[in-house]
Symmetry: C2
Subunit: 204 residues, 2 copies
């Protein structure tokens, strides 16, 4: 028998409202938390050195209370000039952005900013290994998508007016990651694939 | 004939008191400003993509005034886990810190923090190109000093108790930079030298 509240309406469990919490290996983590934990794991196991860059802040006012730490009393978020993550893996420079969508059939291009596209182009020009970690939240699917393809999609969109990349294209041109317990997002598998297929330099 | 003030004392030009302003190509710039300008120059001329990381901030309180930008009302400076600069140059991962001293015969090790030494060791383990841009303010001399030597000096200091690296050693083991008009700090010359002498990987 359903439980009824005194007002006569049936009880309903409240919907989860935390917007970015996704399941990785059964634990509730945001994409950023899962990547930070993956970066920690890669660092501890000496596989790669990758950090998320701090959010850039414009500081306007700082107080220096006696005998204690400086306190920032007025500051503003600035637009980053680059992507969020970079680091080094077996001599390769890695540079990536992490984005997610609730869409089921395509990934909206509005997730990216012009300065990020430009930064990817700059880094590719120096033979960096550049990509996006794309999460389809509803589908629970995760891809490494090459920055070179993203730049092509972005430029094509200027003429075609398309506002997203189809899942079909992402499956064809990207590398699907299988979330694990540790690291929760094993993106180095996608990096190995990128190095083999895209990067025209050898470290040996 | 020397100029005398009415009190009979000879005129003396006042000492420059701005602590970090050093001359690069005749303009007053801090080491950070000179490096940022050099990074801009290298980016615009497609030679390298290097940025200073934002200062990490612990945000405690944010206000969202109506119809305007979010305002950070309480925040604190955090200790960075890494070095200040990283990026990519011809497929190589670059990672460096910039430090200066007013000493004339040695560079104090207290300019470096244990987490920076550890970070350098991590990045060297992944074949990154890691170094310090060292400025002797009074001598107006500028060096690229390899992180591998810094780590050796740091470890030796644990037993010898030495608190600094002699200028003699820095001249022998580092690479002296000649400040220019553009870029003010041409550190890629030191990077080329490091790649030739230290890095056991080839990109060709």
């Amino acid at each position: 028998m359903p439980i009824h509240y005194p007002n006569g309406k049936p009880y309903q469990a409240k919907a989860q409202t935390a917007p970015a919490a996704v399941e990785y290996g059964g634990r509730g983590m945001t994409l950023e938390q899962a990547l930070n934990q993956s970066n920690d794991y890669y660092l501890q196991t000496h596989q790669a050195v990758v950090y998320k860059k701090p959010t850039p802040i414009q500081i306007v006012k700082v107080d220096y209370p006696q005998r204690s730490q400086a306190v920032i009393k007025e500051a503003y978020f600035k637009t980053p000039s680059t992507t969020d993550y970079n680091g080094v893996y077996r001599g390769y420079y890695l540079d990536f952005e992490a984005k997610e969508t609730k869409n089921k059939t395509s990934f909206p291009l509005k997730n990216f900013h012009p300065h990020q596209i430009r930064h990817f182009a700059d880094c590719l020009g120096q033979s960096g290994v550049c990509f996006v970690v794309m999460r389809f939240v509803t589908l629970k699917r995760l891809f490494v998508y090459p920055a070179s393809d993203l730049i092509d999609d972005w430029q094509a969109a200027q003429t075609t007016g398309r506002k997203s990349i189809t899942l079909t294209k992402i499956k064809a041109d990207g590398f699907e990651l299988q979330p694990k317990l540790q690291p929760p997002i094993p993106y180095l598998h996608g990096v190995d694939w990128l190095i083999q297929t895209k990067v025209g330099i050898s470290h040996e």
